[in-house]
């Protein structure tokens, strides 16, 4: 009898993966299966024969999925959309937590570390962020506050320690945790995190590179901007790390398709938001081309401030849109087919070359800085605010950064999911449809 229960459990798990079959339908099918098994047993079949016979009568998971989909064609999409929203919400919440952690670190840092100018050897000196505010002109920032660096280092150390400590404590006790870190040792995680974050900070010191001094953040607000820039890219790093982890879990994902829907949802939202930003930037460019005065008076003055990003940043945004939508496509493809397009060797390659991909991700930005410097032959902060190219870049990036569009997408998705569920509840009109191919 235990064997039978095990077989039924395995069958239930298999059927549960069918997207059109809900919990109640599954319960009903299980009840049916048990009836069918009893009937077979009464006819004198052995347990195994009875089970196999009943399964043959009920139909395979694929057959059931096909039949149920005829009645619930949208149910699978409702499920998927809900998972997609969950994925987006989950990542957003995680990201929000990182922002809060940043602010807390800063508060503590500001209290305990004095504002000290840092003198670094010339070859590794950089320029800090510069910010344009219409009413104040362009800031040139003179010092990096020690607490900013301390905060970054503290967060990195805390993350690495948490991973190492957590891995040591949990390993062997929680199978999911072992699987999570299966592709990398704790040491490898540590190295990965340090190097990748190092690249982010290096590639994203938000202005041009200068060798004569390390400029810095003047006040708390500006340091927040510095952190904001760092956090934004940390977010993208998380995205990449998250997707690599997902890819290494393909086997699991094949079994639990909702996970891949979650990824797909996040990639779609982020990709679309970036796309919307770029579109906004192009619109801004158009407005500026038609009437620079109108653009300056109505657009620029209403925005709190502009970062001067390099052209490369703009290129990076284009790459990010491509990458996000590409990952979304990849996720959708896995979700629909239930398997990776190619063998898992691809996945292992991706993981092993994560760092390489990180560099590719940020290369456009780094190149942009170099190109800007060479083409302008002057430090960015000395560009006049009405320099058309700078204004265009600033506007494009201001739009591109409008993460406020994200909730809009979430609302659209939520409404779509709600509508689908509402239709399921109400049932469609007619009742004339017959089950046919």
């Amino acid at each position: 009898m235990q064997l039978l229960e095990e077989k039924i459990t395995a069958w239930r798990q298999e059927i549960a993966r069918a997207e059109s079959i809900g919990t109640e339908a599954l319960r009903e099918l299980e009840s049916h299966l048990r009836d069918a098994i009893d009937a077979e047993l009464e006819r004198g079949a052995t347990l195994v024969e009875a089970f196999d016979g009943a399964i043959a009568q009920v139909g395979s998971a694929d057959q059931l999925e096909t039949e149920y989909r005829k009645v619930y064609p949208d149910y699978s999409w409702a499920k998927r959309i809900i998972w997609m929203l969950s994925g987006y919400a989950l990542v957003s919440l995680a990201l929000k937590a990182t922002w809060i952690a940043q602010e807390v670190t800063e508060e503590i840092g500001a209290r305990w570390f004095p504002n000290v100018p840092i003198a670094l050897p010339e070859p590794i000196q950089f320029e800090g962020p510069s910010i344009y505010r219409p009413e104040e002109g362009i800031h040139r920032l003179d010092h990096v506050q020690l607490y900013v660096l301390a905060g970054i280092l503290a967060m990195l150390a805390a993350t690495a320690l948490a991973i190492c400590f957590g891995a040591r404590c949990i390993r062997g006790k929680m199978p999911w945790f072992d699987r999570l870190f299966a592709p990398c040792s704790a040491l490898r995680s540590l190295v990965f995190i340090f190097i990748s974050f190092g690249i982010i900070i290096f590639a994203n010191l938000p202005t041009s590179w200068r060798l004569d001094r390390w400029n810095s953040v003047e006040d708390f607000g500006l340091s927040l901007q510095f952190f904001g820039s760092w956090g934004d890219l940390a977010k993208l790093t998380m995205l990449i790390a998250f997707s690599f982890w997902a890819l290494t879990q393909l086997k699991k994902i094949r079994e639990r398709r909702f996970v891949i829907w979650m990824f797909a949802g996040f990639f779609v939202v982020v990709g679309l938001v970036r796309l919307a930003g770029l579109t906004g930037g192009l619109m801004g460019t158009l407005v500026y081309a038609i009437s620079p005065e109108f653009a300056s008076a109505n657009v620029m003055s209403r925005l709190p401030g502009f970062f001067y990003y390099s052209r490369g940043t703009f290129a990076a945004f284009v790459c990010q849109v491509g990458l996000c939508l590409g990952l979304a496509f990849f996720a959708f493809r896995i979700a629909f087919s239930g398997r990776a397009p190619k063998s898992e060797r691809v996945v292992h390659w991706l993981w092993n070359h994560a760092l390489f991909l990180m560099i590719i991700w940020y290369l456009p930005q780094a190149w942009g800085k170099v190109v800007t410097l060479i083409s302008l032959r002057r430090p960015m902060y000395s560009i006049e605010p009405d320099d058309p190219m700078v204004v265009l870049e600033g506007m494009s990036l201001a739009f591109a950064n409008s993460y406020s569009i994200a909730p809009l997408f979430a609302i659209v998705l939520a409404v779509a999911a709600g509508w689908v569920l509402f239709r399921e509840q109400r049932g469609r009109t007619g009742g004339e449809e017959l089950l046919s191919e």
Partner: protein, 117 residues
């Protein structure tokens, strides 16, 4: 007895299920499908999984209603029962199938070709 085609099985599923429920008052999936098999002498080959989408569609269309109950064996079962709209639908189906059957009977009883040219 010749096996009924897939299309006809699908088309006849609704009147069959409704009529079985009308006759038994209340029934559940396994019993309904056993009835179908018995009545048709095996000519109507349904996979069991095919029945439930039909039942769910009928319920959604307001023709039947369902309730979970404990069976005699203590197992949870979902029982279906006909609603007023279902009874009306049976009448409609009777008329429709009667027309089809009547037309075919006439043609076939006469022993002639369905159409001569």
């Amino acid at each position: 007895m010749a096996t009924v085609s897939r299309e006809l099985v699908a088309a006849s599923s609704k009147p069959l299920v409704l009529s079985i429920l009308a006759k038994k008052g209340e029934s559940y999936g396994y019993e309904i499908i056993s009835q179908v098999r018995m009545l048709s002498g095996g000519a109507l080959e349904w996979t069991d999984g095919m029945l439930y989408p039909v039942l769910h569609r009928l319920e959604r269309d307001g023709m039947i209603k369902s309730v979970w109950k404990k069976s005699d064996t203590g197992r949870d079962r979902k029982y279906y029962r006909l609603k007023q709209a279902g009874k009306k639908e049976i009448e409609r189906q009777k008329a429709q199938w009667g027309s089809v059957s009547g037309a075919l009977d006439k043609l076939w009883d006469e022993g002639g070709e369905p159409c001569s040219s």
